[in-house]
């Protein structure tokens, strides 16, 4: 195959890729971001229900939540950071 043909094919692929990105950006990106954000909030809620007392929210005696801890270990640091960093309107009012 000639060099010029190879170059044309590469350019075509790039154009298709760019078009796909454009369509994704226009049609789906907002929805995907929203779904991921929702999922993050739901994951945080799950961690809060199971390990809330790590942040001082005593939901249940931790006897049974201890059983879940081994599976949550990799996520605990990120979860605590996310939850402690979260602010809402009332925080803005109170300062």
């Amino acid at each position: 195959m000639k060099e010029s043909e190879k170059g044309r094919e590469r350019r075509e692929r790039e154009v298709i890729k760019a078009a796909k990105s454009l369509v994704y950006g226009m049609a789906a990106h907002g929805m995907v971001s929203y779904a991921l954000k929702t999922r993050m909030h739901l994951e945080n809620l799950f961690m809060l229900i199971t390990l809330g007392d790590m942040l001082g929210l005593p939901i249940l005696p931790p006897y049974y939540t201890l059983r879940l801890i081994p599976y949550a270990v990799p996520h605990i640091k990120t979860w605590k950071r996310t939850l402690l960093r979260e602010r809402d309107v009332t925080d803005l009012i109170v300062g």
Partner: protein, 181 residues
């Protein structure tokens, strides 16, 4: 109708709970019933859920924290050492984390250690032991010598609270799984 007649009418009864105010004779009746049923060929276990357990006194055998102890043919008794059970449980959790990740992060280790001081941990450990025993299926009859009345009602009420909690946890776990797959 006396207890003897009741058991003769209901020969397949599997779980028996003796409850009531302190001093009514729960432990005495638990021990006597378990002995009587074991004499009739049933494999019986009697389990004291009371932190001030006195099956040790009534059977004149030190069974505290020693698991299921055979008192007589077909008759087993159990008094839980809740503190010891919590300690062993905490160690098992730490071991599992080490197996999975090689070490226990400091903050997790501190959390697990401090958990033993949390309210209702001893009750939860006893409740867990009770459920474990009931689901083991090793005995024909399970007799529970409960703690005094109000405490016993709260203790048994834990099952409903835990049930609601597990439902909530499962529901909360399902939602993110179905979102952004």
């Amino acid at each position: 109708m006396n207890i003897r007649e009741y058991f003769e009418i209901h020969p397949n009864i599997k779980y028996i709970i003796f409850g009531g105010k302190g001093g009514l004779g729960k432990t005495t009746l638990s021990a006597a019933t378990s002995y009587w049923l074991s004499k009739r060929g049933k494999k019986v276990v009697v389990f004291s859920t009371d932190p001030q357990a006195s099956l040790t006194d009534i059977f004149e055998r030190n069974i505290f924290g020693k698991g299921e102890v055979e008192i007589a043919p077909n008759l087993y008794a159990l008094e839980i050492d809740a503190d010891k059970r919590i300690e062993e449980y905490q160690e098992s959790i730490k071991r599992k984390i080490v197996e999975m990740y090689g070490e226990v992060p400091l903050e997790i280790e501190e959390y697990i250690t401090s958990a033993s001081a949390e309210p209702a941990m001893a009750e939860s450990a006893t409740f867990d032991a009770m459920v474990e025993l009931m689901t083991s299926g090793k005995y024909d009859v399970y007799i529970f010598d409960m703690m005094p009345h109000g405490h016993a009602i709260r203790f048994l009420g834990m099952s409903q609270i835990l049930d609601a909690w597990v439902d909530k946890v499962v529901e909360t776990r399902k939602k993110p799984r179905s979102t952004a797959k």
